[in-house]
């Protein structure tokens, strides 16, 4: 299951891989590139400004996403940045999505890793960048308390005032 994956280990391996990937990605995967191009275009043309994403550099396989904290929640008016890394097999396997902005949330650990079913075993090729970001945005206001990565956040969730204080303390704009 999702929470059984060791987050730190995952992070290391992806860091190590990154450099070779940059080269490899640019040459092959025409279909994937095309799909990502198309997703970018839809995203740019969409009127919804609460979520957004853009390739980080020259590499189309690494994006930076931005989520505005949903209204009427403790996250309101906060802006969360995420990194998205697309595998070669995208969209048949899920991208690796992490918070860059520190986020105090039951399903987000201190490394920014997110526990969200659609990014793990419930992934489907029908999801795209926009739906991922919207799902994460939805996760912010409706955490899954039953399987927390951050147990303190899970405990505090019930007392929203205290929780809000933690959220504000953790939040640091990057």
């Amino acid at each position: 299951m999702a929470q059984n994956v060791n987050p730190s280990q995952e992070q290391h391996s992806s860091n190590a891989k990154r450099n070779d990937d940059n080269k490899k990605y640019s040459t092959d995967n025409h279909a994937v590139t095309k799909r990502l191009h198309k997703e970018l275009m839809t995203l740019m043309m969409s009127q919804d400004k609460s979520v957004s994403a853009f390739p980080e550099g020259e590499n189309l396989f690494r994006w930076i996403g931005t989520i505005m904290g949903p209204k009427d929640t403790v996250y309101e008016n906060q802006k969360y940045k995420l990194s998205m890394q697309f595998p070669n097999s995208y969209p048949y396997s899920a991208p690796i999505v992490k918070f860059i902005t520190p986020c105090f949330h039951p399903n987000v650990d201190t490394g920014g890793n997110i526990c969200l079913d659609i990014l793990k075993d419930k992934w489907s090729a029908l999801y795209d960048v926009r739906t991922i970001l919207l799902s994460i945005q939805a996760l912010l206001c409706e955490p899954n308390i039953a399987s927390p990565l951050n147990s303190l956040a899970a405990e505090l969730w019930r007392s929203q005032a205290q929780y809000k204080k933690h959220v504000d303390d953790t939040y640091k704009e990057v």
Partner: protein, 485 residues
């Protein structure tokens, strides 16, 4: 003797060129003389100078320059089949033409217009040349080209290949003015205009031209135009079909024909708002229903401000026919049919057209003595024509009717920039702040695709600076970023 004669001829050369083809003998003479004298450079200098003083200034219209250009190419071919002179002499013309904005439009329209035109001839001839490529030297077209070996890239085995280089005026023109894409886009706009302004469009002829152009530019570039022509043919058929259906279910007092266009393939239209007369709207609704039943899950999206209306206006004392007025004009007069007197504001509300535009449009009917302005911003229908009224010349500004239905290049550009803008905001939202070069680079990588042409660094800077002035962007230390919410 030769020398004196040549000098005289050279001084007259500009006139000789303009008179082409009547001046062929003179050119032949000159051709004989040139090798015997050493006046080639003199000729080039002289001719370039007279070109500059007589042709390449703002007082000469672009079509005239083009005609002269074609004549120059042709006469230079007689004079010097190697194409060397031609290259040198046409240089200033190229440079000058490049500076004029209407050149491409002129070339395209002269290529395709009805009347006899050099370029159109050239287009057809070009086809002949291409088809004859494999069976050389049988007709006169190729004969004169074969009369001398090409001294520059002397390759006697391929005379036709080098001939084509010097003979293909159109490709010369096109290459001079920039990209083929530019040319094809212009053609597309013109074609669209022509197709839409004449209801009885001769698609056969257009298809022929398109085929000719295709030989030159390749299928892929002109694919859009092909779809456009097909749209027109299809629309005629569908309209016929729908008309039959409509006449079955009863009386139609306003017959409608439509042009059904595939929006994807047509150039962008000028957008304008205009609410038509309720009667017409109702007819359109019926028409749409018919179309929907005919075409399954497709529907129509009307461009109400485009189109043509034929009107018969019956007045107590006369009937006037108007052909091909614009929908907005027709709507105005239809509204006056319901009510004799309208206030400008009132009418503008009903039609959802801004008063200033409306006033201009009413001007048309004023010029026809059908509507008069009785007091400030109040207009009245003239039921009876008063004779003396007709004689008084009135100063009414009649708007330019030859407006193009296509969005102007500037409007289109604006739209493209708008697309870039959404990319720029997306970029800056996620990547915070970026310098101009980086934004341009990223746009180049991700946004410049499809039919949109590129955007130069300079233009982008201009655009972004405008956004800064509009407070949609913040610029500091060489970096652009989005303003804080």
């Amino acid at each position: 003797m030769y020398e004196i004669y040549t000098k005289v001829r050279i001084n007259q050369l500009f006139g000789i060129i303009i008179e082409y083809p009547d001046s062929i003998p003179a050119l032949q003479d000159l051709k004989t003389c040139l090798p015997k004298t050493d006046l080639r450079s003199h000729l080039t200098r002289k001719l370039q100078k007279s070109m500059e003083t007589r042709l390449l200034h703002t007082g000469v219209s672009t079509p005239d320059i083009l005609t002269a250009y074609v004549a120059t190419i042709r006469s230079m071919r007689v004079l010097d089949p190697s194409g060397l002179l031609l290259g040198v002499i046409t240089q200033p013309i190229h440079q000058y033409l490049r500076r004029r904005d209407d050149t491409v439009r002129c070339v395209v329209s002269s290529l395709t217009e009805d009347g006899p035109s050099d370029l159109a001839d050239e287009l057809i001839k070009g086809e002949a040349l291409q088809t004859d490529e494999n069976t050389p030297s049988d007709d006169e077209e190729t004969n004169w080209e074969n009369w001398m070996p090409d001294p520059v890239d002397a390759d006697p085995n391929k005379p036709l290949a080098s001939n084509r280089r010097t003979s293909d005026i159109i490709s010369m023109l096109v290459n001079v003015y920039g990209s083929r894409e530019l040319f094809v886009n212009e053609y597309r706009t013109l074609l669209a205009d022509r197709l839409l302004t004449s209801l009885t469009c001769d698609t056969e002829k257009e298809i022929r031209y398109l085929e000719l152009l295709k030989l030159r530019f390749g299928d892929s570039q002109l694919h859009y135009c092909e779809v456009m022509l097909k749209d027109i043919v299809d629309s005629k058929r569908i309209t016929q079909n729908i008309k039959q259906d409509l006449s079955l279910d009863g009386e139609t007092d306003i017959p409608i024909s439509s042009m059904i266009l595939s929006a994807q393939f047509w150039p962008a239209f000028k957008e304008e708002k205009c609410e038509l007369h309720p009667n017409v709207n109702e007819q359109m609704k019926k028409y749409t229903t018919c179309f929907e039943t005919l075409k399954g899950n497709r529907t129509l999206c009307w461009k109400k401000h485009l189109g043509l209306v034929d009107l018969d206006i019956e007045l107590p004392d006369r009937t006037i026919n108007f052909y091909s007025v614009t929908p907005i004009h027709a709507t105005i007069i239809l509204h006056f049919q319901d009510k004799c007197q309208w206030n400008l504001d009132e009418l503008s509300r009903v039609m959802q057209v801004p008063p200033t535009v409306l006033r201009r449009k009413i001007g048309f009917w004023e010029s026809q003595y059908l509507i008069v302005q009785t007091s400030q911003d109040v207009f009245q229908l003239v039921e009876k024509s008063e004779k003396d009224n007709l004689d008084v010349p009135r100063e009414i500004i009649i708007e330019d009717e030859s407006e193009s239905a296509m969005a102007s290049t500037q409007d289109q550009r604006e739209e493209e920039l708008q697309t870039f803008w959404s990319y720029v905001t997306g970029m800056l939202m996620n990547l915070d702040s970026l310098p101009l070069e980086r934004i341009h680079q990223v746009l180049k990588m991700f946004a410049f695709q499809g039919p949109t042409t590129e955007c130069s660094l300079q233009e982008l800077k201009h655009f972004l600076d405008r956004k800064v002035r509009e407070h949609q962007l913040v610029y500091s230390n060489g970096f652009y970023k989005l303003p804080k919410l």
